[in-house]
Amino acid sequence: MLEYQVLIVEDSPTMRQLISFALKRLRGIRITEANDGVDGLKKLSAEKFDLIFTDINMPIMDGLKLVSLIRNDADYKDTPIVVITTEGAQEDRERALALGASDYITKPIQPNRILDVARTLLNIA
């Protein structure tokens, strides 16, 4: 059975747990969590991921910088990235999409939306 590696980069433990909880409903998903952009980059260099969720507002390194760095990495130029934003932060969302993010989810997070996005980007039926 195929196993998909998913990275969640999010400074809020509540959000990390929420996303992780939703994704665990999909079979064959292995989740790795990172506290911020720098931690995320460390995890990305340690192993290969199939899908990345990242918050935009994070300390140390924000999500936009992370998206930009990931897209400039040859190993991750085609890996889907989902940014987590608030509905009001349209500018951030547009910047993230322009930098190469594949999709976005808005707060408050709906588990079904996380599942739909993951299924679509990982091509899981």
């Binding site: 509540t14 747990q17 929420l18 909880f21 608030t86 509905e87 009001g88 707060k107 408050p108 079904n112």
Partner: protein
């Protein structure tokens, strides 16, 4: 009889035989034509049968008609069963959606509860309450107010979207916030959509209470743009927050105080023993 006469008789016999053979062939042709025409007549009768005109059904037809009736009945039964199965499927689909919603709600409640009790650090507890309100409830402007039992005032200890200095101090029992603290009853404005921010009169006010003892309140002034109303799970989250956030705040505050006292005592002891 002479030979000549014999030849004449033979020739006439031959001629007669030829005529007889032709007659037989002609008769055969006529019989075939007759059969073909009868078949054609039957075909035409069948195709030009007038409804309502009585036609004696053959045994085969009767048997076929009975079989058709049986098959019609079977078809009806199968259609009825399909309709029943479709109805059951719809019911299952609706139940699946309900269960999934319930599952999501329970997951949210579990996460909120798990996070609230994951630390004894007072600041972290306030941060977790803030995250729950933003990420699970979907509020943009709110404050966590705790009751100062010495002054009997409610003061903001954490805010989001509102500056802490802006938040008024509220006397216990005074105004909507004070009354919620006094009565321990939740407050929700009647119409979320038409609400305009008033720091004294919030959109939502939830008491943070341990059993019947209120230690503070949670006040919400604005929801996230996409959130136009509260869902059923929000009320459950508010109820959970009212209880679990209160115990988490209370125990972390006690722990922080005791840690501070312990540190002070340790400092004195070190001073005395050195």
């Amino acid at each position: 009889m002479s030979i000549e006469e014999d030849k004449g008789v033979f020739n006439r016999g031959e001629e007669f035989l030829q005529v007889f053979k032709k007659g037989a062939e002609f008769t055969q042709e006529l019989l075939k034509d007759n059969e073909r025409l009868r078949y054609r007549v039957l075909q035409l009768e069948g195709s030009q049968h007038v409804p309502g005109e009585y036609a004696e059904p053959s045994e085969e037809n009767i048997r076929l008609l009975q079989r058709i009736e049986e098959l019609e009945r079977e078809k009806e039964e199968i259609l009825s069963r399909i309709r029943q199965v479709e109805a059951e499927n719809q019911d299952f689909a609706a139940r699946y959606v309900d269960i999934e919603t319930e599952n999501n709600n329970l997951a949210n409640l579990y996460i909120a509860s798990y996070q609230l009790h994951s630390t004894l650090d007072f600041k972290e507890v306030l941060q977790i309450i803030t995250e729950i309100i933003i990420n699970l409830i979907g509020a943009e402007e709110f404050a966590i107010m705790l009751l100062d039992e010495k002054t009997n005032e409610l003061q903001a200890v954490a805010t989001e979207g509102v500056r802490r200095e802006e938040m008024p101090r509220i006397d216990f029992g005074s105004g909507i916030i004070g009354q919620v603290a006094e009565t321990g009853e939740n407050f929700f404005v009647a119409d979320v959509a038409s609400y305009s921010r008033d720091l004294q009169e919030p959109m939502v006010c939830i008491p943070l209470k341990i059993k019947e003892h209120v230690i503070g309140v949670l006040v919400i002034y604005k929801l996230l743009v996409q959130k136009t109303a509260f869902a059923a799970v929000d009320y459950e989250l508010f109820t959970l927050l009212a209880g679990h956030a209160a115990t988490a705040v209370f125990s972390s505050r006690l722990y922080s105080d005791s840690e501070r006292k312990l540190s002070t005592i340790q400092g004195f002891l070190d001073l005395l023993t050195k």
